[in-house]
Symmetry: C2
Subunit: 444 residues, 2 copies
């Protein structure tokens, strides 16, 4: 009988020349977006503390740490994973129910740098690890997440293990043991949200991936099917759930291109509204003063997440339809994290505009869709609609991500984006060196 | 409202001069028994592989590894935890539902050695960490274990975190954050039993304890109550269970003296029968040939665990009432792990004797009790009874553990047991040096 475990081993061991270009292109763009988020997070207090931990351990200098230091690969994965998730500005895969890049890229990069792999091998290993993690995340489903487990850390650890394992050249049996070890090692709770524990979860995923794959590479063994076997990871971490395949696993297809990128520095629940309002602003020429009322419909689950009516802090603004609607319509750069200060929570113009907004839940909308109606002071109405499900083309995405990068990390973004068209000639060590140089420049 | 979290912080921060001597004496004996198991496990393949991992990482040499090497404390805890659990010969705390020493002592020793703490401080920190872990294990209960979670790794990680945190001098708030970080870090599944994943679980507990306590010591923050808060560790890992205190938590008392030591190199379910038969053998002078029939009653749960009627391998012998009954009555040293070879599974005398034994389940017996009747060829009957619950005095325990130590590690045991009466003058570094010297001697 084939289990999910066999399927993800097959995915992770797929020959490189069987992997099509399109998902690889998305994975390359994800690398650059991950680098942007990671560089931007380098100065955060939790990142500084983790570098302090890394410096206190020291060790064989084979993998680079953001902010400049070389340490053993497990530690590099821990520090870089947590650092890159510290601003909550990284990508989301909704079917996986988590953030793929921050758990998997730090593990893959640490091993790729140690092994002197090519940049293409790094990206291919990431992609196949991510495709595997998506299937694990889908199997665990929203039930796992709603119970309090953080797929970014749990399913993510399996992706990190497989990506790192591929770069280490694990054979079929070693890969199976690596998955088994990860089954007993993986952890991470959503109740950490709002503390340093949340980004730590991403670091945990990456560090676990490195530890489990290296142990398997030197012959460490585990339960035969630690993921799907009796009382394996899924059986113990899927409350009341069934272990049967979900219908839409599609092992032969690539699901990574459904990955979503944060182009706005706020809760993902607000993004389809922002995109819809950007169209009204840029195409219909609507501005804040033209609007009489704004009726917004959204998936009901978001009402408990990001419908703070009167935010009191910059952090709360990131979870407020009212504020983001006004900011978008008056042309604020919602991609700029520095905009979300406590003072914008007290902005009088946004406070007045908020009184003209009604937000209602509509269970017919997915959590990536928004619909709405703008009623203008001149009597016109403009219907709004946006569905984040539709993927951008790689060209459009590249342009949007490059703009985001330039907004967040300024001049440092140029060195990152210069890599994009030179991938074929690059090694993972070039990627690591660029990352470190940009993060160190920003720090000093 | 006081939560378990507050209670275990209070336990872990208890002033040393409030801790009574008796539980400390048991904790000292546990240290020596742990050292015995650890030294005996040093040559196991998984221990060799973990030393290979440690050597490949290298790093600041502040904590000793079994077999001789100095590395950062997290790695020392990982290697020593797994190594000491590799023979499954370490202690068990039945209320905690797990093995305390192998998860907590490696973390405490690594930090105590780094901090140059006294041996008394090491033992006190272990004891208070263990008392905390026992309450976490009791709260999770057998439900957690039956669902597939391994308390040794999960509840054990909290004990390791608190023991290490005490040695690092964490204040109240830091201790709380350390527990919160452990809540998102702790993991370990029983489905790993029978593979290297089982001892790895003990290493995971110890390594997590070191990582979380060090992070808290440098200001890393976590969820406010990661253990007992909404969707905290207990809420997510206690299937269908209640978060209410169990009635017998007894925070002011010491539960560690209920800890049980393996004096026989086989499944714990067999131990009360062996003790009962040893009395019949040594007090009543009964030998194998005197016996006509042997009726044995045991807690029904053991029937699924250690009632292999015809073992085929040395490992299966460790789970066979039939074989251990015969071995005990003829005077085999059941404390000697080397006795459990495949050839003893084919022993003709034991095979013949097995036909005279009947094993039945009796739900009125606890899992630490045995009752039975020996019917002798001369017509006499001898009733048997043993309850492992009754603790040995520290004097009797010391004698039994020293004999075990000498059986397993031979001459190396002398250097370990020489420490017992000199604790007051010793530092943790003396303990570590003795451990390394004995394990290195045995290796060469």
């Amino acid at each position: 009988m084939t289990s999910l475990t066999d399927e993800i081993i097959d995915i992770a061991m797929r020959p490189a020349d069987h992997v099509p270009d399109l998902p690889l292109d998305f994975a390359k763009l994800s690398l650059l977006d991950w680098m942007t988020c990671a560089i931007a997070g380098t100065g955060e207090p939790l990142a500084v503390k983790l570098r302090q931990l890394a410096a206190s351990e020291s060790g064989r200098p084979v993998a680079s740490v953001l902010g400049g230091m070389r340490v053993p690969p497990r530690m590099a994965a821990l520090v870089n994973g947590a650092t890159s998730h510290s601003l909550d500005y990284d990508d989301t895969h909704f079917a996986h129910v988590g953030h793929l890049s921050v758990g998997i890229y730090p593990a893959a990069l640490a091993i790729a740098e140690m092994q002197d792999a090519s940049a293409e091998e790094l990206v291919t290993s990431f992609l196949l690890g991510a495709e595997s993690a998506i299937r694990v995340g889908m199997t665990l489903g929203r039930e796992h997440y709603n119970h309090g487990f953080h797929q970014t850390a749990t399913a993510g650890a399996f992706g990190a293990t497989l990506a790192a394992g591929r770069l280490l050249g694990l054979n079929h049996s070693q890969t199976r043991h690596a998955i088994g070890l990860c089954a007993t090692r993986a952890s991470g709770l959503t109740s950490q949200f709002g503390s340093m524990g949340k980004p730590y979860n991403a670091g945990i995923a990456a560090a676990n991936g490195v530890e489990c794959s290296i142990l398997a590479s030197i012959g460490f063994t585990s339960a035969d099917d630690g993921l799907m076997g009796h009382q394996g990871f899924v059986g113990t971490h899927l409350p009341g759930g069934s272990l049967a395949y979900k219908s839409d696993m599609a092992f032969d297809n690539y699901l990574f291109p459904d990955n979503k990128y944060k182009l706005h520095a706020c809760c993902h629940g607000l993004h389809s509204m922002i995109e819809a309002l950007q169209v009204a602003r840029d195409v219909n020429g609507v501005s804040l003063d033209d609007i009489n009322t704004f009726y917004l419909s959204t998936n009901p689950r978001w009402l408990a997440v990001c419908d703070i009516k009167q935010p009191r802090t910059g952090l709360e603004v990131k979870f407020s339809y009212n504020w983001l609607a006004g900011m978008t319509l008056r042309g604020d750069d919602t991609g700029d994290d520095r905009l979300f200060t406590d003072s914008i929570a007290g902005d009088a113009e946004l406070k007045r505009f908020a009184e003209r907004i009604s937000v209602v839940g509509d269970a017919d909308l997915t959590d990536l869709q928004t619909s709405g109606i703008l009623s203008l002071t001149d009597g016109r109405t403009i219907p709004l609609w946006f569905d984040l499900t539709e993927p951008f083309t790689t060209e459009v995405l590249a342009e949007k991500l490059q703009r985001k990068s330039s907004t967040i990390i300024g001049e440092a973004s140029a060195s990152i984006w210069n890599l994009y068209h030179r991938f074929g000639q690059l090694g993972a060590r070039d990627i690591a060196a660029t990352l470190v140089a940009a993060s160190t420049d920003l720090e000093t």
